[in-house]
Symmetry: C2
Subunit: 357 residues, 2 copies
């Protein structure tokens, strides 16, 4: 029986609760199916790691990650880092950067029974994760920002052809497995060189996928189009900051940030990460919605299934996903979705549906 | 009787039709009230100006603008400039830049009878118009972009304290006349220096307006909040590119881009400009929605009323606005709003309501 080592980083705020929930449903499914085994490796990360190791992302974690097949990441409390660790990356940024997890893949799909404001939609935002306007990701130009006088800040956006090429390939490969439609989102009417290079490179890559329909939009118009006709889009490829904004927008349009999921991936490494934050105000209260983290973990399992050509992983992912959707459809919901289930009750409902299936 | 000279630049695509409509309703209102007179000065601008004067924004227009009290600008066909005049600013960008029209003020308000996706909302986005990530606006660092190798573009965002100060004052002054609430939108968790300066400066300015409630959001979270509870926001102050994205988003959420209006203003100059583009596909077909351009013109009239302490201008603006809303409420609508009125029919409907009032 194939065994996979999965690194688990709980993170801050509601992190421990939702990550624990994700681990539980995957474990249940593995036991239920008996075709795969997971070895869980708990790795210190976040504010609690600072207390214990002096660092949010300690060396012990960095080393251990290398021996894991995949990683599950809980949210970070950005505000706490901003106050107490100014100028430092949060572990999330550090992980994406150090391991060159260049593709942040964020699906948004309306779910049966969940209120949405846009009608049916099923799209994926493929966000470039290493450059663009995210100055903190660019080691090679310092941290990408400079105070040139006490009253003038320069924030340097970086666009490089190799980085655009690989994210474009990721988007087109994805589209080939879906509805064969890629939308390039940019602002080339203003950022002429940066997004000029972005579009040109994406269009060059497109030539290798002649079956895929390609269109492009300015980011401002695209935000409006998402509201107007989200259902018309399939795969969207865009720069780091635009991807950040548009994926939160898309998530809210289809049902709320608590449901939104993602992986950060390179060719040979992937990390599950919910789109929501650490919500310190509701931490430890057993009310957080674990769906985003659960679905992110499922997406990681699918990625591993493809990478290791292991069908049993795909089956397992499918079982967990169906069980989550069933629980939601049956009206078991946390309070952010208007329900009254606790985190533990919702998790238990998913577990029951996995066992019963 | 006070007389105002208003410069009119028709622009491209549907520009001539919608600008003409705006001129017509203002003229009708002036005649109806008999308290103000407008002298209309038609100024060449746009693709037609290129044919006639070799330039989209010719010297003759630049000179004449100085002698006008206010300007009404039609849309530009960005795609045409990108193809045929690569690297040049469109007149719209050039106007904002050369005349230092630093505040782009974009209201979004749900209208009685018009479908919206967010419930009632009444907010104003105050967008910094001269710097931030809009590299083409920054003369002093070249055009703000550099190809450092054929495969690497640097796009330099610029944040300066004086520019942030004046846009913050514009936002807080506005809030004082409204619901005394300013929301700062930024991405200081990633763009630490640029948006660090932005927040710090806004918060300093806030101290001069102790009655105003201030909060702030990361731009990604804010995009989701706008969908979730647009009604909770009043005045939003933000950087150029974020303002561009969020104002299109807000416009679509409250009823569509065809209705969205704005002015670009400095202390002593203002220009009306609809938020929509030039829509070349429907140009000359008498189907464009003139409401965005009409409401932008009304906003300019209001601005002039305040600047010249002329109540009759405020009355006139009120009359035109009410008549537009009445026509919409009565179901007279262009096709983008699901109606079948032509541009001319809609304009005529507003004219009738002005005359009958
Ligand atoms: C916390 C923040 C730095 C992060 C980002 O902007 O990348 C988050 O918003 C995300 O999208 O994962
Ligand atoms: C046409 C374009 C350059 C312009 C901008 O981005 O400023 C437009 O989108 C706007 O918002 O007025």
């Amino acid at each position: 029986m194939a065994t996979y080592r999965l690194g688990v980083m709980y993170g801050d705020g509601i992190g421990p609760e939702v990550v624990q929930a994700a681990v539980e449903v995957l474990t249940t499914a593995a036991e239920r199916l008996g075709t795969v085994k997971f070895n869980w490796v708990e790795l210190p990360m976040g504010l609690s790691a600072i207390e214990k190791y002096g660092e949010a992302f300690p060396d012990i974690t960095k080393k251990a990650l290398k021996n894991c097949d995949g990683w599950i990441l809980g949210p970070n409390d950005g505000a706490a880092y901003a106050k107490e660790h100014q100028g430092k990356r949060t572990p999330s940024g550090e992980l994406r950067h150090s391991y060159d997890l260049y593709a942040n893949i964020r699906p948004s799909k309306t779910l049966p029974g969940i209120r949405n404001v846009v009608g049916e939609a099923d799209l994926v935002i493929v966000r470039e994760n290493t450059e663009g306007f995210y100055t903190d990701k660019n080691m090679y130009v310092g941290n990408g920002e400079f105070m040139v006088t006490p009253e003038t800040a320069l924030s340097v956006g970086v666009f490089t052809k190799p980085a655009i090429e690989r994210i474009a390939h990721a988007a087109f490969r994805f589209a080939m497995e879906r509805r064969q439609h890629v939308t390039i989102v940019h602002k080339a009417n203003v950022i002429k060189l940066g997004f000029g290079l972005f579009i040109k490179t994406c269009r060059e890559v497109a030539e290798q996928y002649p079956q895929v329909k390609v269109d492009d939009y300015h980011v401002d118009a695209f935000a409006a189009q998402l509201v107007r006709r989200a259902g018309d889009f399939d795969v969207i490829v865009t720069e780091n900051m635009f991807g950040d904004i548009l994926s939160d927008l898309a998530a809210e349009l289809v049902g709320g940030l608590g449901l939104a999921y993602s992986i950060n991936a390179s060719e040979n490494q992937a990390m599950a990460q919910a789109v929501h934050g650490s919500a310190p105000d509701i931490a430890g209260k057993n009310v957080a919605n674990p769906v985003g983290e659960m679905l992110s973990a499922v997406m990681l399992i699918d990625w591993l299934g493809t990478r290791h050509q292991d069908q049993s992983l795909h089956h397992l992912g499918q079982l967990v996903k169906t069980s989550i959707l069933k629980a939601l459809f049956d009206g078991v919901r946390t309070q952010d979705l208007g329900g009254d289930a606790s985190t533990i009750q919702f998790t238990e409902a998913v577990v029951q549906r996995i066992l019963r299936s």
